[in-house]
């Protein structure tokens, strides 16, 4: 519901109020790389330059590496210590694609399975979304039925209408955040008109589109077409960029580190693109590159829709922007040969 707005010059004050109660996380350039990081209680210049992060916000819940438990040998065995996570955090500036992506990963770590490490961070987090006004040429969220100015997966949604941000609240947590502040103003009829305008303009800025309709069925019928997958995968170099930077990829690996009778168990990102994937317990069933590329495409566009009724690609475009060889998933989806018996489109 649209209730309030905040003047741009009051954003520092608003974030400051929240920062007194919980950790505020904002889009930040850390050594030149854009990710979500703790706010310094001061700098809001990201409002001018921020488009989207390179490192996706999933890293707030599933970091590239984290300690699952630390251990130390004593007389009777081992002392184990499991990290706890009691502090609240507000992540400000989540884009609609990434908000949906978090919801997708929730299915894996919080719905079908209760993952302590994920949930302990996720349940203490409020997400504040920020509408896109300057999407990349590689963004194609609208093809995943995402509006770059709307999200049902955040607690609050901010949209830039010029001098102010109009705020929509969706949850109790979001309302609580609004109630903490005294810098908010009422929205006017003119603001409502303006927000409609802004929203339409943003949507029209998304130029990259791909028809994902029936992609799951087309992929299903192509699954065993080795020639096709070999051709599609030829230029991929099997690095971990597209999966690590994908906001919906969640594969992980667990490793113990021990030096002089103490150490820790770590969990970190893993990637189905790697030839060494799952080689630790056994062998990689996807030894050939084309099988690994097929896995990535099918996981996003066939298996996820089959199991959960939703594509696991949100169209953030990170994998296209950062791929060393410009392997473009939209080209692959667009180029899927039509399967006999499937009527195309609405």
């Amino acid at each position: 519901m649209i209730t309030k707005k905040v003047s741009k010059k009051d954003i520092r004050k608003l974030l400051g109020t929240w920062n007194q109660e919980c950790n505020v996380i904002v889009p930040s350039r850390v050594d030149g790389v854009v990710g979500m990081a703790a706010w310094d209680n001061q700098d809001i210049s990201f409002l001018d330059w921020y488009r989207n992060t390179v490192i996706p916000p999933k890293s707030c819940f599933l970091p590239k590496s984290e300690v699952m438990m630390s251990f130390k040998k004593n007389e009777n065995g081992y002392n184990l210590e499991v990290p706890t996570n009691e502090h609240w955090q507000v992540i400000f500036g989540v884009r609609p694609c990434d908000a949906r992506a978090n919801a997708i990963i929730d299915h894996v770590f919080a719905v079908t399975y209760d993952d302590y490490y994920y949930i302990s961070k996720r349940r203490n987090t409020l997400l504040v979304g920020l509408s896109c006004t300057n999407p990349y040429d590689s963004c194609f969220c609208t093809s995943s039925n995402i509006d770059p100015t709307e999200s049902e997966y955040v607690d609050l949604m901010f949209t830039d209408i010029g001098d102010d941000f109009v705020i929509e609240d969706f949850t109790g947590g979001g309302k609580a955040l609004l109630n903490m502040s005294n810098t908010l103003k009422k929205v006017t009829k003119a603001d409502i008109d303006k927000i409609k305008e802004v929203k339409a303009a943003s949507v029209s800025k998304i130029k990259k589109t791909v028809d994902t309709e029936n992609a799951d069925r087309k992929l299903g019928s192509l699954f065993n077409d080795t020639d096709y997958w070999e051709r599609i995968s030829a230029k991929c170099i099997s690095c971990g960029i597209c999966t690590f930077l994908c906001p919906t990829c969640f594969c992980f690996d667990i490793n113990d580190e021990m030096i002089r009778k103490q150490g820790a168990r770590y969990r970190g990102w893993d990637s189905c693109s790697f030839r060494s994937y799952t080689r630790m317990p056994m062998e990689n069933p996807r030894e050939e590159k084309w099988r690994r590329v097929r896995q990535r495409v099918c996981h996003k566009f066939e298996f996820f829709p089959m199991n959960l009724g939703i594509n696991a690609c949100v169209g953030c475009g990170r994998c296209i922007r950062s791929c060393p060889v410009n392997w473009d998933i939209t080209q692959v989806i667009a180029g899927l040969p039509a399967e006999a018996g499937i009527k195309s489109g609405k």
Partner: protein, 316 residues
């Protein structure tokens, strides 16, 4: 140049001289290209030559079986030669389509100068030794050297010397070895402590995607030490110490093979200045052994060849 290349590539496929052509086509995003790997002669019409053809296509020679026609800039041709020296590929299986190169554009430098990101920049055009950057109605003309990759400014082979066909075209003189070592010079001016904390900070953000290794034609090991578990040389956990060790060992492993193509640094998604390590190795190899990788297919490879008369008893 493009027409000559396309015709030659089509001819090679048509005659059956090669099974695949490996070259560049336009990318799907602004100012990008993408490797084109094709056995279809009609597709050779999409081959391009422009200042954005960054990939070192020699990497593909390692994994594609069959006879390949590879489009090669100077540095790529050196990587191909280096792979031949190391007996990773055979000369007879490769048709080198050499192209002269006047340097490639480093989009990060362009973005910095323009104050805009890649997709917000309308045009980047090379005119002889100048580059014109257009954003909206604003045009900015800068010396090419200001926006070329550091490794391009240091290039020692703008025209391939090992080739089967050399596409005719200009190679504008761009060499400025001093400027190409600028970052390394800065690092050398630091105290060891400062340098250590510099690299600590850099490797702290490594995500262990291994893109640096995967793009590198000199990284041809079937089994990489970094993934070995018995014994385990480096932890797979992304921590700065292990990330740094991974890269330090990689730099040593590619010494004498690295041709300073700059790909490792270009592809790093978190902008770790990897070339500062590989280029320093490259120069050390030059100084200590008077050796330039990939310059002579007949020469014994630096690191793996030895003679019975070696001074060191270790390898004798």
């Amino acid at each position: 140049m493009e027409k000559e290349l396309r015709d030659q590539a089509a001819k090679l496929l048509e005659e059956g001289t090669v099974d695949y052509i490996v070259g560049f086509a336009s990318g799907t995003l602004k100012h990008t290209t993408t490797p084109l790997i094709t056995g279809d002669k009609d597709e050779t019409s999409s081959l391009v030559i422009n200042p954005f053809i960054s990939n070192n296509l020699a990497t593909y020679a390692l994994e594609i079986s069959g006879r390949l026609g590879i489009v090669a800039k100077g540095c790529d041709s050196r990587s191909i030669v280096s792979l031949i020296q190391d007996k990773q590929i055979t000369r007879q299986d490769i048709v080198i389509l050499g192209i002269p190169c006047s340097g490639l554009i480093d989009l990060k430098k362009v973005e910095k100068l323009a104050g805009k990101e890649r997709d917000e920049i309308d045009e980047v055009v090379v005119v002889a030794d100048k580059v014109v950057i257009t954003v909206g109605s604003e045009k900015q003309e800068v010396p090419a050297a200001a926006v070329l990759f550091d490794h391009c400014i240091g290039c020692e082979l703008q025209i391939p010397q090992e080739y089967d066909f050399l596409i005719q075209g200009p190679a504008v003189e761009i060499r400025n070895s001093e400027a190409s070592r600028e970052k390394i010079k800065e690092l050398k001016q630091m105290s060891p402590d400062q340098r250590w904390s510099y690299w600590k900070q850099q490797f702290n953000r490594c995500i262990r995607c291994y893109a640096c290794r995967q793009v590198c034609p000199a990284c041809f090991c079937e089994r990489c030490f970094v993934e070995e578990s018995q014994p385990r040389w480096v932890s797979p956990v992304s921590q700065w110490q292990d990330n740094l060790i991974f890269q330090a060992i990689r730099a040593i492993h590619v010494a004498g093979r690295c041709t300073d193509c700059g790909e490792c640094e270009r592809v790093c998604p978190v902008d770790i200045p990897l070339r500062s390590l590989s280029k320093e190795m490259y120069d050390l190899v030059g100084e200590m052994f008077n050796y330039k990788s990939g310059m002579n297919a007949g020469a014994p490879p630096l690191m793996t060849a030895y003679e019975l008369t070696e001074v060191e008893s270790l390898i004798r």
